[in-house]
């Protein structure tokens, strides 16, 4: 592990080019969290900035903590996926995790509807979401093997097909349940940071994401070498098959935790690594913490923004904001990237 942990960038001559932007990202994330803690929409419709009263503070803290877990988790999982699959279009959801979670929730809703329980507003769907997500992850990793270990192309194809099958299952179940259940499911699919969550749930999710970050950063040297290609990485002593299995498992579990907590929130895992790469470069020892911070900035920032946006139909689901804002940002990044490659 010592070999894997050795950085190739921060000890180099350009440490200031990577460490300083990382500190700037950290300060930005802290600032966004403070903004989210203070921002509120007054009953009259105006936006106010003030520390919340004690009664409300717990909801804000829960929401921020969930944003840290979800944003950081999706950022980390996206960074891992793009590096492990050597594909800049890879996102955490390519492992079929969100579709698996969706199928789990939809199946649970269908069962609850048949038992007359689904209308209860306090039903917690995180357990079926987690079960569905892990189930899909296990199937994708089992089918995506070549010579016994995960293979990038096979994992991608397996993930796409498993996600499609899960989507088919979701559509079938939606067709079978009453309209109000369908509505509840669609709301869940749009993604929302919870303002109410039990401490054990938050702590467990936090430990999974934090453990994922630590494990990934410890293997950052191996991840750098893996970008050279499988053969070259192996001649440098990188156990490429086990590395992919472990870190795809980490990405999948972290994603499963985030989906169980907040539903599928799109684009964060796709965009965060791109922004992080432009900010701190490609060396994973700084790139992975940077993707985590960018993910936090996006998710907590979107949660703060939705407090200020009033379209007269209640607060926007966070997933709608991240997709509508993230899509154009991604296209802008893409054009910048293409222009930089043009002669």
């Amino acid at each position: 592990m010592s070999m894997a942990a050795t950085s190739i960038t921060v000890h180099g001559p350009h440490a200031s080019r990577t460490v300083l932007p990382l500190i700037a990202l950290l300060l930005l994330a802290v600032g966004i969290c403070v903004l989210r803690y203070a921002i509120d929409r007054a009953p009259g419709g105006g936006v106010t900035l003030a520390w919340p009263e004690a009664d409300w503070a717990v909801f804000r803290r829960t929401s921020i903590f969930a944003g840290l877990i979800v944003g950081g988790g999706l950022g980390l999982a996206g960074g891992l996926m793009q590096s492990l699959l050597r594909n800049p279009l890879a996102s955490p959801y390519l492992l079929g995790v969100s579709s698996g979670a969706g199928l789990g929730v939809m199946a649970a809703m269908a069962i609850a509807a048949s038992a007359g329980m689904v209308s209860a507003a306090t039903v917690d769907w995180s357990v079926p979401a987690m079960l569905g997500a892990i189930g899909a992850l296990v199937v994708v990793l089992a089918l995506g093997r070549r010579n016994g270990w995960p293979d990038p192309v096979t994992v991608l194809l397996s993930g796409v097909v498993v996600a499609t099958i899960c989507a088919g299952g979701m559509m079938l179940l939606q067709h079978m349940v009453p309209m109000d259940v369908r509505g509840r499911f669609l709301t869940w699919m749009m993604g929302t940071l919870p303002e109410i969550a039990s401490s054990p749930q938050l702590i467990l999710a936090g430990v999974v994401v934090l453990g994922g970050i630590v494990a990934s950063v410890m293997m950052s040297g191996w991840l750098d070498a893996s970008l050279l290609g499988d053969d070259e990485a192996r001649t440098l002593g990188v156990p490429i098959g086990p590395l992919r299995l472990v870190l795809l498992g980490v990405a999948g579990m972290v994603t499963a935790v985030t989906v169980a907590m907040a539903g599928p929130i799109g684009f964060v895992g796709l965009i965060a690594p791109h922004v992080a790469r432009r900010t701190v470069g490609h060396s994973h020892v700084v790139l992975l913490p940077a993707t985590v911070l960018v993910g936090v900035v996006i998710v907590v920032g979107a949660d703060a923004a939705r407090q200020a946006i009033d379209l007269g139909s209640g607060r926007l689901p966070i997933g709608v904001l991240t997709i509508l804002a993230g899509g154009p940002v991604f296209l802008w990044l893409l054009r910048r990237e293409v222009r930089s490659l043009e002669a």
Binding site: T6, I8, G12, D224, L228, D231, R234, T235, L236, G237
Partner: protein, 250 residues
């Protein structure tokens, strides 16, 4: 490095058949043969990248196949014929990847030394992707030099393919220097002239089988070359007494 009855199958096809041979420390051994003879597969097998279907490979009594990955990386460096050119790191970072198993100061020393040896010190901060193929080739060779601790095994697959005359000469000099330091150097070559002039031993492969092994002058006999390559060669005498083999003109 000792190979004992090594056979390799890829995709169900036999690529190497019952190869038994050994390479000495302190010598440069050339792997020769026509296209598809199995040269690259043999090097990849020695590097531990391909598992033999039969037979064993030993480095100082240690089985290469079962050797720990980190130990193998410190002992065996491999320069592939083809590599990804679009990797997002600088030349120094690429070379430093070879030295990651060393301590920080030892790694810095090994990286600086390898960059200097391969005449890359001035390009150290350049992004690897912006280099010419020849410069990239030298950076990959420098990484292998920074990787192995002498006495180790240096494997090079067609290392001169992308290099001009000057740098080909530089790399041949480096190869000879590493052999003098006690490394086992095994290099696949297409140019029989360079092989006969630069190698102490030659392994001639044909259709996955070892046709002959020994000093180049004895292995590269005209009748054997004609049989293996299906072409005629001319043998010229160099001033140092070694042979220079070139394809015969019609």
């Amino acid at each position: 490095m000792k190979l004992d009855h090594v056979s390799v199958n890829l995709g169900g096809c036999p690529i190497l058949k019952d190869i038994s041979v050994h390479a000495q420390a302190g010598e440069v051994t050339g792997i020769l043969g026509p296209n598809a003879a199995g040269k690259t597969t043999l090097l990849r097998t020695i590097a531990g990248l391909v598992k033999p279907a039969e037979g064993t490979l030993h480095l100082d009594d240690q089985n290469v196949v079962t050797m720990r990955a980190a130990k193998r990386a410190a002992s065996i460096g491999f320069v592939p014929q083809r590599f990804r050119g679009e990797v997002p790191f600088t030349v120094r970072q690429i070379v430093a990847m070879g030295a990651r198993h060393r301590g920080p100061s030892e790694a810095r020393h090994a990286v600086d030394g390898a960059l200097e040896t391969c005449e890359l010190s001035e390009l150290a901060s350049r992004p690897f992707a912006t280099l010419s193929v020849g410069q990239q080739q030298r950076a990959v060779i420098a990484r292998a030099l920074a990787q192995i601790s002498s006495p180790g095994v240096l494997l090079l697959d067609e290392p001169l393919a992308a290099l001009d005359l000057r740098y080909a000469s530089t790399i041949l000099g480096i190869i000879r220097q590493r052999a003098r330091q006690g490394d086992t150097v095994i290099v696949s070559l297409h140019d029989l002239g360079i092989a006969s002039a630069s190698c102490d031993q030659a392994w001639l492969l044909s259709d996955g089988q070892l046709e002959a092994a020994g000093p180049p002058d004895t292995v590269l006999s005209e009748d054997r070359l004609e049989r293996v390559y299906g072409a005629r060669f001319e043998r010229l005498q160099r001033q140092d007494g070694r042979d220079w083999i070139i394809p015969a003109t019609a």
